[in-house]
Every structure is written in structure tokens, then in C-alpha cells.
């Protein structure tokens, strides 16, 4: 399974949650598959989906799912100790780990080699770290939602991209629509 197939699979579970989606193809795919006002699409700033998600979860009570990539977590490793030490039980970090920098042409990441993101997250002090296969993502996500405990899911999947249009929505429109959904 590749990332877009996972998105198709878990879209019904994401639909009712606040979602912060990673820059590039992840946001473009989610936008194409199931655009929702509860989705915040990152159009720039690689690596900060988990930080934005944690800030949002700490600021209000609704559940927040940050969808990140292995490359993006590698670029902002400092996020994991911050998450571990500021527990927000309404926060789920879903790392789609395809072992490559998908948006830039599938160059390999270290997460696809020797480095285990789940082990790093645990070493940083994060509780409830779950590693799963792509096919199990929906189940793992539902378990995390049901547990109401801060959870990090590392979903190991194949690399590969589909053709998707870029997001042409204005960033202020995305942000305003999202903030309206947060308070709805």
C-alpha cells in the first residue's frame, strides 16, 4: 500500500476530526480524496505538522490528528521530546513512513534504512507509540481515537505517488475555514 491508498482507507475516520496535514503530496492527496473544512493543509514549511498539531491540541479540547511523513519528522526531530513532555491526550501523530522523501521524487530517507522512528519516539519519552503495517492503519487510528490517550502511530508503507493537482486554495481561506471548523 502507498500513502494515497492509506488515505482512501482512513478518510472516513479522519473526516470528523481536526487534521493537520503535511506539506506537499500528502496535503494534495488528502485534498483530492476527501477535502474537509476540518483539514488544515500545509502549503509550505516542511516538518512542522506535528508542532502545529500539538499546539492546536493543547489549545482546545477536540481531537487533533497530525499527519506527518518520515522525512518531515527527520527534519524536525526536536518535536518528539516536546510532544513527550507536553502530554495532550487529544493528540494523535500519524507518521506515514514510506522510507522516502515522496514529494521530492522518492529519494530514500534514513527512516527507510537503519533508523526506527518508533524507537526514537520511545527514547524521547513518548508513551503509546504504535508501529503498524499500512493495512492496519485504520485499526490503529481507531484504537488511538478510542483510547483518548496521546498516541504516535508509525505506519510503515511502500513509497509511491499518484498524480494529484496542487492546492490552489488561498492559505488564508484554508486557515479561516479551518478555524471556523475548530469552533463549530
Amino acid at each position: 500500500m502507498i500513502r494515497s491508498e492509506i488515505f482512501r482507507d482512513i478518510a472516513p475516520r479522519l473526516r470528523d476530526q481536526l487534521v493537520i496535514c503535511n506539506i506537499g503530496l500528502p496535503s494534495q492527496e488528502l485534498h483530492m480524496i476527501d477535502d474537509q473544512p476540518t483539514n488544515f493543509y500545509m502549503l509550505g514549511t516542511m516538518g512542522l505538522a506535528s508542532s502545529i498539531g500539538l499546539g492546536l491540541a493543547l489549545a482546545q479540547p477536540k481531537t487533533v490528528i497530525a499527519i506527518d511523513g518520515d522525512g518531515s519528522v527527520l527534519t524536525n526531530f526536536g518535536t518528539l521530546p516536546t510532544i513527550a513532555n507536553n502530554v495532550a491526550d487529544n493528540f494523535i501523530l500519524l507518521i506515514i513512513d514510506n522510507g522516502s522523501y515522496g514529494s521530492t521524487g522518492d529519494q530514500p530517507t534514513y527512516a527507510g534504512k537503519k533508523t526506527s522512528l518508533a524507537a526514537v519516539a520511545r527514547a524521547c519519552g513518548c508513551g503509546n507509540v504504535v508501529e503498524c503495517r499500512a493495512e492496519e492503519t485504520g485499526k490503529a487510528l481507531q484504537a488511538a481515537l478510542d483510547s483518548r490517550k496521546m498516541t504516535i502511530i508509525v505506519c510503515k508503507c511502500e513509497s509511491g505517488n499518484i498524480k494529484v493537482p496542487v492546492i490552489t486554495k488561498d492559505p488564508v481561506v484554508i486557515r479561516d475555514r479551518f478555524m471556523t471548523a475548530v469552533t463549530a
Binding site: 493537520i20 488544515f40 500545509m42 502549503l43 509550505g44 514549511t45 516538518g47 512542522l48 505538522a49 506535528s50 508542532s51 502545529i52 498539531g53 500539538l54 499546539g55 492546536l56 491540541a57 493543547l58 489549545a59 482546545q60 487533533v64 524536525n76 526536536g78 518535536t79 521530546p81 516536546t82 507536553n86 492559505p171 488564508v172 484554508i174 486557515r175 479551518f178 478555524m179 475548530v182 469552533t183
Partner: protein, 165 residues
């Protein structure tokens, strides 16, 4: 009243209740003061761009955020300031320790100081420079201005300013 208390009082009066910090020697006392306020959620960040991500999320969650950092962080955060804070039009007061100014003892700090205002100007970030303690009288107004216009705003605070406390 101590300058640290005044600054944090202004944060609280303006409902700034989510503050992320990356330490600097000059800012130690203001961070200590923040820790004493139950109204403020203080979340230390490991890097300033991470801190700005936290602030962006908190803002979208209905909180008024702020970041406290050193001017060297301008070099770290240009992309985040431009493609997140400015692109999505988010307010962000940045209380910045202006290292490398008069009374600096570490030469390397001057290397970033000489670029600080030029970079902020290039980014079209409204910038205020606190040099004398009296300058902090405007802090309350600067916070109101920041949340009125939904922009990042820089408040540079130099060694002379902090020495007066």
C-alpha cells in the same frame, strides 16, 4: 515594578496565554516570571521554527501565542515566518533578545546583530527596539497592534535595556 513583571503582566492583560521559548541568558528572568503565572501555558521548544509551529497551532485553537527567542533565531526561522506565519496571516509577537549590541561580550553575537534589523526589514516585519527601560511602556500597545493586524511583530531587547532592571 520589575521589567520582567511588567512584560509578563502585559502578556496576561492581552490574553497571551501560550508562550514558547528558546532560552537566552538575557531572557532568563522573564522566562522565570512566566513560569510563575498560572494563566500562561509555557512550552519550551527545541528550536525556534518548532516553536512557531506550536504558536500557529495554538492560534488556530483560539489562544493568543507568543515566542521568546534570541535574534540568532531569525536565521533559523525565515522560512517559517514567510511560509507559515505570514502566508496564513497569523499574529505572532516575538520578544527577542538582541544579542551582539552595545555591552555584548561575545564577538560572534555581533555577526548576527548586524544582520538582524536588515533581515526583519527585508521580511517586512514591524520591528520595535527596546534600548531604555522606558521603551517597554509601549509593549502593551505593540501586543494590541500585533493581534489587530495578524502579523509577526519583532520586539528587540538589548543588553542596555535588560541591564536597567
Amino acid at each position: 515594578m520589575s521589567i520582567n513583571k511588567k512584560i509578563v503582566d502585559d502578556f496576561v492583560a492581552n490574553d497571551v496565554t501560550f508562550i514558547t521559548t528558546v532560552p537566552c541568558k538575557q531572557l532568563g528572568s522573564v522566562m522565570e516570571e512566566i513560569e510563575t503565572r498560572p494563566e500562561i501555558y509555557h512550552i519550551p521548544a527545541n528550536k525556534e521554527d518548532e516553536g512557531m509551529g506550536l504558536c500557529a497551532g495554538a492560534f488556530m485553537g483560539g489562544k493568543r501565542p507568543a515566542i521568546i527567542m534570541q535574534n540568532t533565531a531569525i536565521g533559523v526561522t525565515i522560512n517559517t515566518l514567510v511560509t507559515l506565519i505570514q502566508f496564513y496571516r497569523m499574529p505572532l509577537p516575538m520578544l527577542i533578545s538582541y544579542r551582539g549590541e552595545l555591552k555584548e561580550s561575545v564577538a560572534c553575537q555581533v555577526e548576527m546583530a548586524v544582520h538582524t534589523k536588515a533581515l526583519l526589514n527585508q521580511l517586512r516585519i514591524p520591528t520595535y527596539h527596546f534600548h531604555q527601560q522606558d521603551d517597554a511602556r509601549e509593549f502593551d500597545t505593540i501586543l494590541k497592534y500585533t493581534f489587530m493586524c495578524n502579523k509577526p511583530v519583532a520586539i528587540l531587547t538589548d543588553a542596555t535595556f535588560w541591564e536597567g532592571s
